[in-house]
Symmetry: C2
């Protein structure tokens, strides 16, 4: 297998460059064909990297970028005000063919705006979508859009369905079942955009469209790709995160009350921690931007070292599977 | 305290009249001032009731209604095709002052359509909303709309906020914190309806509006009333149900693998079951229709005996607190 080069925006995220450097080193030792370019404040990054052995950082490069985009900065400001931000410079490496993917844990809105400006969308795509793997009873489903597009036309939902299907195939699902998220499964249910999108999808060649799906159906594993607008997707994702956290806390509290509960907890908690880890999808898996002329993976801002490693892994798979090329081919076939 | 009379649509729900009769009897023995009128197929109901003692059914009446509305029937059909349905007859008892509330576990869309047609909305309210109590880290929040209105204008979201606040007060919250569900907490986030609704709410007298809330903030307990359109609310509710079910199943599976896990499970499962029960909000609490000239509580279709009892309890509280009267007063004050 040939080498993969990934550009890392080393300055984004809530945990800062230290975790990102650590995750990068871990990925390099796991994948001998991987090369990483860390983009950010040179002296800081040199410092962080110097703690590792020469062998560990043999395939690691540092590229200086003076500016950092804040987590709360407006996308418009990030777009116009900071020509030398670590995020922009990392994306430019992808645009210029010096890297095959960009991974960032930074400001999502800024990353989307800069990705569109620097990389451009694929022909036939109005706006890129954000997709992530959500755990279900039977495996995973690809949920999109996760917040990049709060209002979506039926045509956009249709595009998301096509892109999600190609992404699921690249991730190993043979004939992905594609569903539209709705408030019921009957034809008459939902708003106009969803019903119109259903009409478009019913007529799409080569797409395994299985109809409407409800919120509980998603977690039952009734589809491999679930499509919704970014408003709904973002709220589903974040409320699921919130609920999972609440459940975990209640369980811990339950095992702290009284001696018997403590004893039960001592045995049960390690098992429950494993369940818990499986259930924090957004923290543990990267979210991809689909529909760009290049690979961009967003790691959760609150992701730790492992979360950032997963994001790099997702970028690696997308490089190996040539996801943008596949998407381009499929879109030409379907949308034109 | 004076007597309360509640009309029960005894034919709706996935579990049928038997569970409903059982729940009704249980509520009657718990609340001496309560009277119930079971509406449905007389012979069937007489039969079910005959199994209980004369004392148990002293405050129980049966009212015949020949037709039943199916769980998958279209609301328009329920509205026009079935003049003698148990659901309609129960609502008519409220309209005619023969009952102070109606409780049904039947078809949600049909119940909403019939409620509007039979009871009418309060002055100033375009469409009623569906609200239910959702468990949070710190207690409960009232979430609305849960699916009665898939598309909402800013004005409707504003009305929901006002109604949710009055409902939370009636349920004992002193100065309910009201929030709008959104994809971020900054002013610029969200779609047009949500941003316009925020403007309206910022100017509302006597309303404790606390701004935007995200999906995880809801479960953190950051608000007492959370407002969204019915599309988003329905998907949030059902995906939460789905996730909670999935978590419960994974935990059970974990405790079935190997001897040690089984032992741990034997001690831990009773504790975990309690956590689980707390987390099935929709199944365990009734959802109220707000904005009608009368009280209507919808029990979850898949609710068992306990779920239906909770729905009757919610109706009881709303009668005691005179919720429609309070809503009317507040709306006259605010919206006019």
């Amino acid at each position: 297998m040939s080498a993969q080069i990934i550009a890392i925006d080393a300055m984004g995220g809530d945990f800062g460059p230290r975790s990102i450097v650590q995750a990068s080193i871990a990925c390099l030792s796991a994948t001998p064909s991987l090369h990483l370019t860390l983009v950010g404040q040179s002296s800081l990054l040199e410092d962080l990297v110097s703690g590792f052995s020469a062998a560990d950082r043999a395939r690691l490069q540092i590229l200086g970028a003076a500016e950092v985009i804040g987590m709360d900065e407006r996308p418009s400001q990030a777009l116009r005000g900071k020509p030398d931000s670590s995020m922009r410079v990392a994306l430019e490496l992808v645009r210029d063919g010096k890297a095959q993917a960009c991974v960032s844990a930074g400001n999502t809105g800024a990353l989307m705006a800069l990705s569109r400006a620097v990389l451009k969308t694929l022909p036939g795509i109005d706006r890129p979508a954000m997709v992530a793997a959500i755990p279900t009873r039977t495996g995973y489903c690809q949920l999109l859009d996760l917040g990049a597009n709060v209002d979506c036309t039926a045509e956009q939902l249709y595009q998301f369905a096509v892109m999600g299907s190609v992404a699921a195939q690249a991730l190993g699902v043979q004939r992905p079942r594609v569903a539209l998220l709705n408030v019921g499964t009957e034809d008459i249910k939902g708003n106009q955009q969803v019903r119109l999108a259903a009409n478009l999808l019913q007529g799409a060649r080569g797409l395994n469209y299985v109809g409407f799906i409800e919120g509980d159906g998603l977690y039952r594993g009734a589809a491999d790709v679930v499509v919704c607008d970014g408003f709904v997707g973002n709220i589903l994702l974040k409320s699921s995160e919130g609920l999972a956290t609440m459940v975990a806390q209640r369980i811990e509290q339950t095992f702290r009350r009284g001696l018997l509960s403590r004893l039960a907890g001592a045995v049960a908690m390690p098992l429950l921690k494993r369940v818990q880890a499986d259930l924090a999808p957004a923290r543990h898996n990267g979210a991809s931007f689909l529909g760009l002329q290049g690979i961009v993976v967003k790691s959760h801002g609150a992701a730790g070292v492992e979360g950032f490693q997963s994001a790099i892994q997702r970028a690696l798979i997308e490089i190996q599977e040539n996801l943008p090329g596949r998407l381009h081919g499929r879109l030409e076939d379907l949308l034109k």
